[in-house]
């Protein structure tokens, strides 16, 4: 085994710290808050495993996602992302916890890449990991199930207004040069547009 080869099956996802205001900075990247089920997805050749936040193997509940993930062009891969139930209009369904209802659609939004072909990417800055994620997903044909959550371009003002207009419920804020810190709640933040019930929001993850 090569010295730099490293492939853990599960990496504890990095957590989001709730914030009550947005700050505009060139060092920050913004993404959409989708409110789905946070998962870590690993791919070893054709075998895809879906792990819950706590590291439980929940692949049997998400066979459709696992099947679609097999089309990502990588032999060894660890992705951080969310499984989101979408309404027919494309917006995340309000009730993500209950069983998937009729007419809704389930897909995986990847937002980070933690390991690719045995290379540990966690120490790399966020923007580089994102760049690689774009490269990987460029070749994914079935964009209906496997999707990518991009860093949104444009000024913060525009991003916030567009997000609100499209009916998303908040935004994620990430430091562009920060490494991935498994299980830590520091460099990633979440901001909800509806700040009226902060106590309720805190209990969500």
């Amino acid at each position: 085994m090569a010295a730099d080869y490293f492939f853990p099956h599960f990496i504890e996802p990095m957590l989001f710290r709730p914030v009550h205001h947005l700050c505009d900075s060139q060092d920050l990247a913004y993404e959409v808050k989708l409110n789905g089920l946070r998962v870590i997805l690993t791919k070893i050749h054709d075998k895809v495993t879906v792990y819950s936040r706590q590291g439980l193997n929940i692949t049997h509940d998400f066979r459709d996602i696992a099947m679609a993930a097999r089309t990502i062009p990588a032999d060894l891969l660890t992705l951080d992302g969310e499984i989101v139930i979408l309404n027919p209009d494309g917006r995340p369904a309000l009730d993500q916890k209950s069983e998937q209802r009729l007419g809704t659609h389930r897909c995986f939004y990847a937002f980070d890449c933690l390991n690719n072909d045995g290379r540990d990417l966690c120490p790399q800055p966020y923007r580089d990991r994102k760049q690689l994620l774009h490269e990987l997903f460029f070749q994914v044909r079935d964009k209906n199930v496997m999707r990518l959550s991009p860093s949104l371009s444009g000024c913060l003002n525009d991003i916030e207004r567009h997000c609100r207009l499209l009916g998303f419920e908040g935004m994620l804020i990430k430091k562009r040069n920060a490494p991935y810190l498994p299980g830590k709640r520091s460099a990633w933040m979440k901001y909800s547009f509806d700040q009226h019930h902060p106590l309720v929001r805190f209990t969500k993850s």
């Binding site: 090569a2 690689l132 991009p150 949104l152 444009g154 567009h162």
Partner: protein, 291 residues
């Protein structure tokens, strides 16, 4: 296909014998019968008198108009026959109006029109004349005992009849709170960009009645399994439907907004990430697998 009605289109001195055919199939959901749970005996309805609960035979039934609470004026079959519209078996076109003049909200049900024996030439003439003039005929027609308002329209080489609502059948939306705000230019532009980024070609085949399909699937599975309980996974819809990627739409509309801006103010795109030397190295990590 059998015609649901036979008659003639008439206007001026022209008379075109035609048949009407339903252009839509029943839109009803899957039909279920109501049964008694214990022995699956079908449930039947009976007409019973409210006062004593006794069954009332059809011949015993008359119609009453309640003009005051509990007080009725009675009408029987003969009364109704007096006001029944005359069964002319004709679609009497009263006038021709522009095709785009009528608000589509008035159209309720389409029918195909086929020429009957001897009507071919006049049918084709009317169809092409309407097409050339971009007009449709407005007619009154009696089908069974009811009078309808209808439009005779050209569709390719065919004439179709669209049953229409009478003006008094449409409800005035006066009680609804409809906003009449003045929009800011910036907001309007953004909203238009969003609409543009979701714009697509209209393809009616793309949209299916998911509920009906799933219910029929469940029915077929249950028949195949001999009516036994279905395992819970079987009823779950795992079928993937195509759903728009709203996150991608968001990104596209942001890029469009950004482009529009940078035309006016050439400010460098500060938040767009540029591939750095480092990330380029990362991009092609050529399978460095364990040997």
């Amino acid at each position: 296909m059998r015609p649901i009605w036979k008659g003639a289109i008439s206007f001026g001195l022209v008379n075109i014998p035609i048949g009407l055919y339903s252009a839509t199939t029943s839109t009803e959901d899957v039909k279920f019968r109501m049964l008694r749970k214990t022995d699956h005996s079908p449930i039947k309805y009976k007409r019973v008198a409210e006062t004593d609960g006794k069954e009332v035979a059809w011949e015993e039934i008359v119609k009453g108009y309640e003009y005051e609470k509990g007080t009725y004026v009675i009408f029987d079959k003969d009364d109704f026959e007096k006001v029944d519209p005359e069964k002319t078996q004709r679609i009497d076109i009263e006038k021709f109006v522009d095709l785009d003049e009528v608000d589509p909200i008035y159209f309720s049900q389409p029918y195909y029109i086929e020429p009957e024996k001897g009507g071919d030439k006049a049918y084709a003439l009317l169809c092409h004349a309407l097409k050339g003039e971009k007009k449709m005929g407005i007619a009154k027609v009696v089908i069974k005992t009811k009078q309808y308002l209808a439009a005779v329209k050209p569709k390719d080489d065919m004439l179709i009849l669209e049953v229409m609502h009478f003006a008094d059948e449409l409800v005035e939306p006066e009680d609804l709170k409809i906003p009449h705000h003045k929009m800011g230019d910036k907001e309007m532009k953004m909203a238009c960009q969003l609409v543009d980024s979701m714009a697509d070609k209209w393809d009616p085949e793309e949209f299916k009645n998911d509920y009906k399909e799933s219910v029929m699937q469940m029915v077929e599975k249950k028949i195949a399994s001999g009516g036994k309980e279905l395992p819970s996974v079987a009823t779950k819809t795992t079928k993937t439907t195509k759903t728009i990627d709203l996150v991608a739409v968001l990104q596209k509309s942001l890029e469009a907004a950004h482009k529009g801006k940078s035309k006016k103010l050439p400010v460098p795109a500060k938040t767009i990430s540029k591939p750095t030397a480092k990330s380029k190295k990362l991009v092609h990590p050529k399978r460095k697998k364990a040997a």
